[in-house]
């Protein structure tokens, strides 16, 4: 990875082009004839010896392997070409040269930039042999993760894992200050994808249409805010067999995060420091006051109302001569800074001997926000986030047969945000978005906060004069794995157990306040007056418990693994149980008994089968145990004798998995199988003349579903793995068909005469199928290593059955359409005066339809536009997403870039503040944006992209709640997600001047460029959310 020599920019840019055209060449060297044994040492680029390098002589097979000191011994014949093969290092071959002769010669191997270790880490840290793995999997390692900077690891895996679709919905985390549950806390189910214990509030992640379950070191936990430097690997396992350990939730697939393992060696210390600067990728462009006033007048006149502004007003808005009565405030400029700073520090230490080994990592991450602050405050009002994280892992060999691994992770997360309207930054951003530039001056002539009857809370005051809200989260995750090897009694038998305790406590402190605003007016006689609005309140100090989460896990497993000649047999019987306490709900107790058998013949044929019996205590008695199973087969064709002549193919493995998986637990709600009643002691209907609070007992809604069960899927995955030219090319392809059934949906005959809401029932069916490809090519040209790797995914979905009502037209049916298809009216330009005169079909009940209004297609030709003209307008194409990673290393220099993109994606611009503008805000009209200049006017009728303007809301042009294809836009984009440049000080310098300290300087960027099909908004993050951030960061890594 690190090469101790100089570099030049010239060679860098040259080599990018060379990547494409270079043909792998062998390094040739002069030969000499001696005919004796050589004893050489193989080292990595740090000078550390490499254990287990296989040395071969080309044409005659394996002849030697390096020992722990990296030394090998070999008898050779002159002219032999020696080959060096190792999982972690690039294949190397060289003719035996004169200088190889004799001892003490060192061969340096280069680490593979695209790492494919010989094992795949399973959920409990077990290293499963990659050769015999028959499932579908994709992994990223530390080196790729650490290229990205962020408060979570998700940017580091975006675009790098085949099959993982990540869309960012918000530019920063949502501060969790209220319980994250769908309806109150009691008995409620936390929102999908945002379970209480999840710390991800920025990204939507799905793998094959499901949110994968996160496993951190064997323990289930939605834990994304974690130091990338403490992580060894993140592996996404998508097929039925590899996710069978999830039992009742095996449909969802697993994202397995493995923290770094202690390695037996001398003390190793690594320190990373990193500072980044963030700035928004895209901001909305509001109309300035003058344009706003002009267009609002136009909108009002279009609606037949009196215009508000006079010519005098326009000129005052334009020349700024009356800043208090004719303000022009760009709220974004006034309230937000251009940049914010983030920081990251990590120190990790590892070492140990053959009895005990340890890995300890200490990390700090801090991210600042964009809001302006005031020096008058003794406290911080800006948005910020700080995280302290300790990861420690200790492996102990208690006896030869008995090992223990102890993991402890502790995390403190602290957030801060401006008080805003009393509820933090989200509503503040929304108000900035909707408040027009003309609304009010920031301050009045007498220094008081500006405002008026409609805007009763000044935005600047909300930004730094309304106190602050702090939130914090404390996590501790401790686990112990004990492993006893019974091989002395029964060969191949071992018993292992895992125990774990996780607790999380989230809380928030509100110290908000509010100042009143004053509307400044000058009477006809010229006297100024100030009218107060808004209710002032002094600073409060409220504590709120957001969540308490506790998870205890226990697992006991019996493993058996033995080789009989060419037959390898493995078996595992595992039982586990968790007890989860979430706030004041009764404990959840998901448990499993899982059996797993594997068989391998001659490293050529592989078979594996798993059976899971899963239990969950919130289903009805008698319906709590479910059976799930899967079976997988594999065949490495390249190992067959008929393939021997195909030297360049080192692996050609065909594999297939079939299984029945489940997706339960989260769908059980809170004992929804019981019909229950709730009593509310102090609320609701008051009683009598005393108006004493009425007691209130109600039948809980919806009605009980006594048959509720987990959703299920039959999943098939067929894959090919191909490695060519000594693993220089690695190709993996997976084709999958996932048939989901028993999906929870409400029944078609949900007749309201019931008098109660119908529960969701297990009736829906849908299919998801797709292809995932990944291809990596890596090679070196002399000391230039380069690689290009990419993944491409496409997924087709289809609703197979939903209990739909009868519809009079085929195009109204959802069945048969893709899952998540968007329905709405089809817009076909704008109405002309002629259309209206000819009686072109319009919606009924609108009294003011004019030329320039949207023209909708009357699909059923009944002469009116209504709900029967709604058809599929988006989401009809198979979603496709990809990532391309290109990199090179030359001597001490590293460069890489990651492009990530999506196509066949549709987004609906549903925010009418943005698309329509001038919405009513109390007695005033709301913000409008620059793109509204493309509205329809009689002069601009042919070029208009927006309908005529309207003030206060025009449902007709916005689909009358049925959606309109006018606002369905392509969400395709490609982003330069990450670019990374690093320079490692040459080894000679570190050895001679820094006593072995190795130093690396690096620079990273995120979201630097975006090419998007839509120009109006960012394709991922809408304007009412915190904007997506561009980041440039600089750092240094020091290790010894």
């Amino acid at each position: 990875m690190i090469i101790n020599n100089k570099f030049s920019y010239k060679s860098l840019f040259l080599s990018i082009w060379l990547v494409i055209i270079i043909i792998p060449t062998n390094i040739t060297a002069q030969t000499s004839i001696t005919g004796a044994k050589i004893t050489n040492q193989v080292l990595d680029t740090y000078g550390s010896p490499i254990d287990g390098v296989e040395i071969g002589i080309k044409g005659s097979g394996l002849t030697s392997t390096t020992n722990t000191d990296g030394v090998f011994e070999l008898a050779y014949t002159p002219g032999d070409i020696l080959t060096y093969t190792h999982d972690r290092f690039l294949y190397h071959e060289a003719k035996v040269s004169r200088i190889d002769i004799g001892s003490g010669v060192k061969i340096h191997l280069q680490e593979k930039p695209v790492n494919t270790p010989g094992y795949i880490t399973g959920p409990y840290g077990e290293k499963n042999d990659r050769d015999s793995y028959v499932g579908s999997e994709s992994t990223v390692y530390t080196s790729q993760l650490t290229k990205s900077m962020g408060t979570t690891i998700i940017p580091g895996i975006t675009g790098r894992i085949a099959g993982l679709n990540v869309i960012q919905g918000r530019g920063t985390r949502l501060h969790n200050t209220s319980a994250n549950a769908s309806d109150g806390i009691i008995g409620s189910v936390p929102l999908f994808g945002r379970r209480d214990e999840s710390d991800n509030s920025e990204f939507f992640m799905s793998a094959r249409g499901q949110a994968p379950i996160v496993i951190v070191d064997g323990i289930r936990r939605d834990f994304y805010s974690i130091d990338p430097d403490a992580i060894e690997s993140i592996s996404l396992q998508k097929d039925a067999l590899s996710s069978m350990f999830l039992g009742m939730q095996s449909s969802r697939g697993a994202l397995i995060i493995t923290t770094k393992d202690p390695v037996e060696n001398a003390l190793h210390v690594s320190f990373t420091s990193r500072v980044g600067i963030n700035s928004p990728v895209k901001m909305p462009k509001p109309l300035n006051a003058h344009q706003y006033a002009w267009l609002l007048n136009e909108a009002l006149q279009n609606d037949g109302k009196l215009p508000i502004y006079s010519y005098d007003d326009f000129s005052k808005f334009k020349d700024g001569s009356s800043p208090y009565l004719h303000p022009n405030v760009n709220w974004y400029d006034e309230l937000l800074n251009k940049n914010s700073v983030s920081q990251y520090y990590n120190l990790n230490v590892s070492g140990g001997n053959n009895v005990a080994r340890y890995f300890v990592s200490l990390g700090y991450t801090g991210q600042g926000g964009l809001f302006k602050t005031s020096p008058d405050n003794s406290y911080n009002t800006n948005l910020d986030y700080q995280r302290y994280l300790i990861t420690s892992k200790v492996d102990v060999n208690i006896t030869d047969d008995f090992t223990a691994n102890i993991t402890l992770i502790g995390r403190i997360e602290d957030g801060n945000q401006p008080g805003g309207n009393g509820d933090g930054y989200s509503s503040l951003l929304h108000t900035i978005f909707t408040t027009p530039n003309t609304a009010y001056p920031i301050r009045n002539p007498n220094g008081s906060w500006g405002g008026n009857i409609s805007f009763t809370n000044n935005l600047m005051s909300q930004t730094f004069n309304s106190g602050y809200i702090k939130d914090s989260s404390r996590d501790i995750l401790g686990s112990i794995n004990l492993d006893y090897d019974f091989s002395k009694i029964v060969q191949g038998l071992s018993v292992s157990t895992i125990g774990s305790i996780t607790t999380q406590s989230r809380s928030a402190v509100f110290r908000t306040k509010r100042d009143p605003v004053y509307a400044y007016t000058i009477s006809q006689s010229g006297n100024p007056s100030y009218a107060m609005y808004g209710t002032p309140s002094s600073q409060i100090n409220n504590f709120r418990s957001v969540g308490n989460y506790q998870d205890m896990y226990f697992q006991l497993a019996v493993n058996y693994k033995r080789q009989f000649g060419l037959h390898d047999i493995g078996g595992r019987l595992m039982g586990d149980t968790r007890t989860i306490l979430n706030n004041y709900d009764l404990p959840e107790v998901p448990s499993n008994i899982i059996g797993d058998l594997s068989y391998r013949f001659d490293n050529k044929y592989f078979a594996q089968a798993a059976l899971a019996e899963s239990y969950y205590n919130r289903y009805a008695p008698g319906k709590r145990w479910g059976t799930f199973y899967s079976i997988g087969l594999g065949w490495d064709v390249s190992k067959e004798s008929f393939m021997e002549s195909w030297d360049n193919i080192s692996r050609l493995k065909l594999r297939g998995v079939y299984g029945l998986t489940g997706n339960g637990i989260t769908n059980s709600a809170y004992y929804i199988y019981r019909q229950t009643y709730s009593y509310h002691g102090t609320a609701w209907y008051p009683m009598g003349t005393s108006q004493s609070p009425g007691n209130f007992t109600t039948e809980n809604q919806p009605l009980a579903n006594p048959n509720i069960t987990w959703e299920k899927a039959r999943k098939v995955n067929i894959g090919v793995d191909l490695s060519l030219f000594n693993d220089k090319i690695e190709f993996t392809s997976d084709f999958y068909v996932d048939n989901y059934f028993d999906l929870l949906q409400s029944r078609g005959k949900s007749i309201e005469l019931m008098g109660a809401a119908y529960p969701a029932e297990n009736i829906g069916k849908s299919r998801l199928q797709g292809v995932e490809l990944s291809l990596a090519y890596q090679n070196n040209f002399k000391r230039l290593n380069y690689y290009i790797s990419g993944n491409w995914n496409i997924q087709y979905s289809k609703v197979l059955f939903m209990d739909e009502q009868e519809h009079p037209h085929d195009y109204l049916y959802r069945t048969g359409k893709p899952v998540g298809a968007h329905f709405g009216l089809t817009a076909d330009g704008f109405l002309t005066a002629k259309d209206i005169a000819n009686g072109y079909p319009v919606m009924q009940g609108f009294d003011n339809i004019q030329p320039g209004d949207v023209k909708y297609i009357d699909k059923n030709k009944d002469g009116v536009i209504d709900e029967f003209d709604v058809s599929m307008i988006g989401g009809d194409k198979p979603l496709s997403f990809f990532g391309i990673d290109i990199g090179l290393q030359y001597k001490g220099f590293e460069f890489s870039m990651l492009w990530q993109g999506v196509y066949n994606r549709d987004i609906y611009l549903g925010d009418r503040n943005f698309t329509e503008g001038f919405l009513q805000i109390n007695q005033h009209y709301g913000q409008a944006f620059e793109h509204m200049q493309n509205r329809w006017t009689p002069e601009n009728a042919s070029n208009a992209t927006l309908p005529r303007l309207s003030a206060g809301g025009n449902d007709y042009n916005y689909g009358n709640h049925w959606s309109s294809s006018l606002w369905m836009k392509s969400g395709n984009f490609i982003r330069l997600k990450n670019m990374y440049i690093a320079y490692n000080l040459p080894e000679t310098i570190s050895r001679n001047y820094l006593s072995g300290l190795r130093v690396k300087f690096f620079m990273g960027t995120q979201n630097l460029f975006t090419f998007s099909a839509i120009d109006l908004v960012d394709p991922e993050v809408g304007f009412t959310s915190y904007p997506l951030q561009k980041n440039i960061n600089f750092g240094v890594n020091v290790k010894f």
């Binding site: 029964v490 709900d585 009593y679 609701w684 008098g755 009513q920 003030a951 809301g953 009358n960």
Partner: protein, 592 residues
Amino acid sequence: MRQNKLYTVIACMGMLLVGVSCMDNYEKLPVDQFTGEYVFSVTDSMGTQASSFLNSIYDLLPEGHNGVGGDYLDAASDDAISIKQNDPSVYQLAVGRYSANSRIYPVMEWGRYYEGIRKANIIINNIDVVPYKTTFINFNKEVKPLNYTVKAEARFLRTFFYFELVKRYGGVPIIGDSIYQLGDNIELPRNTFEECIDYMVNELDEIKYDLRSITMPEASVFAHAATIEAAMALKSRILLFAASPLYNEKPVTTDNSKLKELVGYESFNNERWKKAADAAMDFMDTFGSNGNRSVGLTNNFTEIFLGFYSGAVNPELIFFRQGGRNKNIETNNGPLGFTGNSLGNGRTNPTQNLVDAFPMKDGKARGESSEQYPYNSQRPYDNRDPRLQLTVLYNGADWLGRQLQTYRGGANNPTGSAEYTRTSYYMRKFMGNFENTNEYDNNYHLWVIFRYAEILLNYAEASNEYTDSPSREVYDAIIALRARAGIEAGDNNMYGLKDNMSKKEMRTVIQNERRIEMAFEEHRFWDIRRWRVAQDVFANPLKGMSIIRTVSSETYTETDLFKVNFEEKHYLLPIPYSEVNKNGNLIQNPGW
């Protein structure tokens, strides 16, 4: 050996699962979510949970104050419009932008009333297991265990919900006492209009002596409960609707013979007016001036809406939906242009059409008045029926210690970037008496569902329609209202009424009296439908007033706001399309 070990391990794992799943620190099922046996418990002699369940049904009574997306339902009639520009629900309702597929809540509720009916049925089916030891006294001074009234109140509320359905849709499916479960076939057909009316009337007749009467001793706790008075008032209203032209004389036209008996009676019968008149007269004879005099007209018109029943202060109140003690109505509907605790949002803007409906102070219509109270179009609010200033806030009216300025550019209707009143009027009714105070204060804001004035109007209308010419009692009923309103008696003591009016003339008087007496009380919207006059009413545009003030004078000009295209199909609401679609036996109303 090996096998034994394996068995041991499996056994251990089994014990582990059993051990953990039976953790005895916690109850097995959540105790906060109990089942029906606990709600209607054989050991609960207080009936705590059952009474509490009943209370939850009262909560389903319609909330009229700003109840339709923040507006009064009357803002969907010709009496008012909403200040909101962004397509509020009442505007959509007014202009008829709704269909079977787009429901406007809460007016186009279908399921909500069946929810109420289900809840009532849960009580009706289960209440008898509760061994109430508490008693109550009914109208006949009989002492009965509390089960009787709990059950009867549930039946009253159920009837109330049915009537809400029937006045919207015509005949609807009658559930009976069934509580349907998941899996039951509930593709029920609609019952005929006649069956529905008979069912409701029969229910009310059956339960009336199981209810309390209004001067109940435990009023501090049960003042909101349905009483015999409420049951009889509901019966009066039901029979008045049943006799009205929309259901009796001229139902919505349809070719479908099945539909004919759903949307109204199949043939006209004038006797239905008599039944309606009798029901109202029965009420008056029992509780009114001919009866025990427990119910009557409240002297002070504004007091009706601000307090509970009181024989001395507010004898008019019969049944209401509870409202808290607050200033919600003032802050929602009070005039704009005040600040702080006087801030109003001017939600409801009465129309010029409503203002024009108020007669002059002598009870005569505008322009027909004597020289004593002439109508001056440039001083249009002088010498009017006193109810005008208790219903509408107009330019120059006293409010919060000031005179309102609703002229263009005035403090309560400024020009510039803000949208203030659209008609130059704000709503006054229901608000506390804040003419001369500095700021708003808390008041009780009950939503009055039945009051004695309606009984008088019901009687006057039904009796006038039944007979060839109005009887003396009809005159008396109207005169009683006008006298209370403060209209001058006149020399002939007729309060502005003419002698010997024809049936038709009297109909016009009664309909106008109903409109102004009960403005904003959710009557106008339904009345113009049941009278089948909505098409005529909406033939004229809704109007506002534009007031231009110069240094020396004010100029009043009427302005047109918008015109409503009311079609015949709008007389009945559409049954939700999805319901008709799912239920093969359910027939949609004509035109939808």
